[in-house]
Amino acid sequence: MSHTLFIDGLEIPFAPGQTIMDAALAAGIYIPHLCHKPGLTPHGSCKLCTVDVDGRSAAACTLPATAGMKVDNHTPALQEVRKTLVQMLFVEGNHLCPTCSKTGDCTLQALGYHFGMLDGHFPPFYPLREIDASHPDIVLDRDRCVLCELCVRASREQDGKNVFAIGGRGAASHLIVNSPSGKLGDSDLTLDDAAAHICPVGAILPKNHGHEIPIGRRTFDLHSVTEADVAHVGLQKTEHHDE
């Protein structure tokens, strides 16, 4: 059996063991994603990579590719679903772009641009979440956390540490720090950890680098999320967000 699947009618190859997302990225096809990053264990929580596979909804980042699979990706209906999911993420947290030093380099924001999102649409949740500035080099602003667990995975899988975890349940789920005080300053996170730089939003930010690149000259001011996130495009995110 040939190892190919179809994304929006286009036949693309896949290697056994690859997910739909792996195959798509390798073929230069953009499937929107926020919690996914090649090299880390797929997570499947943000659901922005939602596709319809032979009529059934699935997360492209976790579903293994199989031969002959017919995947709907860039359809108006799915783009609308994904836009709604971005709006849901915006109202769930406190995402005030003009006050955030990640603006312009934020993947959530870029996804909003990609889907033509103009507003949060739903009633905001106004959560009261703790800010942790105890670490000398890194600040943790939970207001902006989207619970993608990229930092959780990067710390465990790339840094060989275990700095972050998700605690709580449901809408009260929140990022926690694995240290006796629960404070970042008491953890073993260091500035050269992947986990310190992987945050797609402005929740985990290195201190003292906020405005090295002016607004208007940042990654998503110059590029769309589709360019920046397709693996073979060698784009670097600006300033301190580089890996």
Binding site: C46, V81, M88, P123, A165, I166, G167, R169, G170
Partner: protein
């Protein structure tokens, strides 16, 4: 006044299970003090963040002290009575969710406690109170205020009845202990698997996966260890049949686990018992001990060389999501009960990554009977696609709530005639995650091919406000969402906001449309069964009882989500103003 601190669990291989250690800490201190986390983490060899994460995930663990008497009223539409909770709060001078200043008492609500046939129900320090009435509240208040230990409370208050109203194939079939195992050991595991296959047995939790196929896949899976897990996390509101099966037929359930173990080559099994059924622990432990004593468990079971099988009980701590099999496995692994990505499925990658069968209590019970009588005996009942009988938990507005066992394929109408529920305007079949059925559909059949149910049948009489019922369910799902995926984590609280707005008379047609649009997204795009069913009640309501919603709608284009005048209350107080400009209409 403390409940006996799970003494039996200390002897178990699972004594050091994080959930049990947290139960013990919660019980001893009335909360889990921050300073206990680091020593516990060191002792169990777990990251401190994992312990913290687990504490905050499960409802029965707290970071601040609860009262010496912590009373949790069920908020289920069948076994809950929040008016009663309010009355008790007033009598005890306590706010819901806030521990009284003297530390003696705290009162709150909790999801269905599985006493729907004998409500109103509550838990006091983990022990179940049934048939609560207004009349007993003054006495209860006195017992709390005098710090009377629970053992000195009227015994009858804690009595739980089986209420078996209609017994069928399984419940009527009295079996001597070990009958299933003895029958099978005369042949072999292949023969048992063939009989289970012949029986057509499908999972009784509601999803209806073919049991023989599950066992076969697990058996064939190439993993070093195999496990059998009995899912006794019966959390679907309106379901209580597993409570009865574990009260009066536990031996047959455990035997079913051993039979499964025999087929899949498991050496160890778990019964994951919902925290609300903690009162069952002593009797379940006694049953296990008895089975050990009679060589129905342990090593070389019934002298069969190499047939070793043991069962541990793990007690949950208030999380509906743990009834979802992959969440249950996460919970068994001492983590938050978050649904896993599937595939891979538990039969190949289950408990600790090993091949695992997770079966419902009733499925395992049925397996024992099938082992004795053969597959055809079972298959002769029910329908072509839904073999055998179903044990139903009937509650709500009917004259005889309780347990009913009927062959699959009976109509809802027949069931309602039997339980005295013919006045119903609607029935919720399968619990909040199931289907809201209107009178016109009472001819429909209870079967996997028509109305599937894990056993919950909630009857709603003509007087019930269906919008209030559906609002209750919508709140339930928002409360129980694990928070893993965006559609459910954000969508279920949003649905709650919309239905609250409509129920309060502030909704517009636009809000209703938005609620439907969102509901469909949550249903189609969520990660697991919880999110995929969370919008069912309100979507069913709007389809089948549209007037219930439309008569509450405002005939205007738009209405805010929040009360503007209330949003000025704090600043009115701070400025001591009450002039016209200090208010908003």
């Amino acid at each position: 006044m403390h409940l006996a601190p799970l003494p039996s669990l200390a002897k178990q291989p699972s004594a050091d299970h994080l959930l049990h250690r947290l139960h013990q800490l919660q019980e001893h201190h009335r909360y889990i003090p921050a300073e206990t986390l680091a020593p516990l983490a060191a002792e169990l060899g777990l990251p401190i963040s994992q312990i913290e994460a687990v504490i905050d995930f499960y409802n029965f663990f707290h970071r601040t002290p609860r009262g010496c008497f912590d009373i949790l009223f069920s908020n289920c539409t069948s076994c809950g009575d929040l008016a009663l909770m309010q009355q008790l709060c007033e009598l005890l001078d306590v706010q819901p969710g806030v521990t009284r200043a003297d530390g003696k008492v705290s009162i709150d609500q909790t999801s269905c406690v599985g006493m729907c046939d004998q409500g109103a129900a509550a838990l006091v320090n983990g022990r179940t109170l049934t048939k609560l009435t207004t009349e007993q509240l003054p006495q209860l208040t006195a017992l709390v205020n005098t710090a009377t230990p629970l053992d000195a409370w009227p015994v009858g208050w804690f009595s739980v009845q089986d209420n078996i109203r209609h017994a069928g194939l399984l419940i009527n079939d009295a079996l001597p202990a070990g009958a299933g195992l003895r029958a099978v050991l005369q042949t072999d595991a292949d023969q048992l698997l063939a009989e289970i296959k012949q029986s057509g047995l499908r999972g009784r939790g509601g999803a209806g996966f073919n049991t023989a196929l599950k066992w076969q896949l697990c058996r064939a899976a190439d993993a070093p260890e195999h496990y059998v897990v009995c899912n006794a996390d019966e959390g679907e509101p309106g379901t209580f049949k597993d409570r009865v099966l574990l009260t009066s037929f536990a031996q047959q359930v455990f035997e079913g686990m051993a039979l499964c173990a025999y087929v899949i080559n498991a050496r160890h099994g778990f019964l994951y018992l919902r925290g609300e059924y903690r009162y069952l622990l002593p009797s379940l432990e006694a049953t296990l001990a008895e089975m050990h004593a009679t060589n129905l468990l342990g090593e070389n079971i019934l002298k069969q060389p190499g047939f070793d099988f043991d069962i541990s009980i793990v007690l949950g701590a208030g999380a509906y999501i743990c009834g979802e099999e992959s969440s249950l496995l996460e919970s068994l692994e001492q983590k938050r009960g978050v649904a896993r990505v599937r595939p891979p499925f538990p039969v190949t990658h289950g408990y600790r990554g090993q091949s695992t069968v997770v079966d419902n209590v009733e499925t395992l019970l049925a397996a024992t009977h099938i082992a004795v009588h053969g597959g055809q005996w079972f298959r002769d009942h029910g329908t072509a696609q839904s073999a055998g009988t179903k044990i139903l938990s009937v509650s709500g507005d009917c004259t005889a709530p309780g347990i009913y066992e009927f062959p699959f394929g009976i109509s809802l109408q027949t069931l309602l005639e039997t339980c005295g529920g013919l006045d119903a305007q609607a029935v919720q079949v399968g619990g909040p995650s199931g289907t809201l059925v209107s009178r016109e559909e009472f001819g429909r059949k209870l079967a996997f091919e028509d109305l599937a149910t894990g056993g919950s049948i909630m009857v709603y009489g003509a007087q019930r406000d269906l919008l209030a019922v559906v609002r209750n369910f919508t709140h339930f799902f928002a409360h129980e969402s694990c928070g893993f995926c965006t559609p459910c984590r954000v969508g279920t609280p949003l649905l709650r906001k919309y239905i609250d707005k409509i129920a309060a008379g502030h909704g517009t047609a636009y809000d209703r449309e938005e609620m439907v649009r969102l509901g469909k997204l949550v249903k189609r795009r969520s990660h697991c069964g919880l999110g995929q069913t969370a919008a069912n009640p309100l979507l069913d309501l709007l389809e089948k009882f549209p007037q219930v919603c439309s008569e509450r709608l405002l005939h205007q284009d738009y209405e805010p989500f929040f009360n503007l005048d209330a949003a000025l209350a704090t600043t009115r107080d701070l400025t001591h103003r009450d002039d016209a400009e200090a208010h908003l209409s």
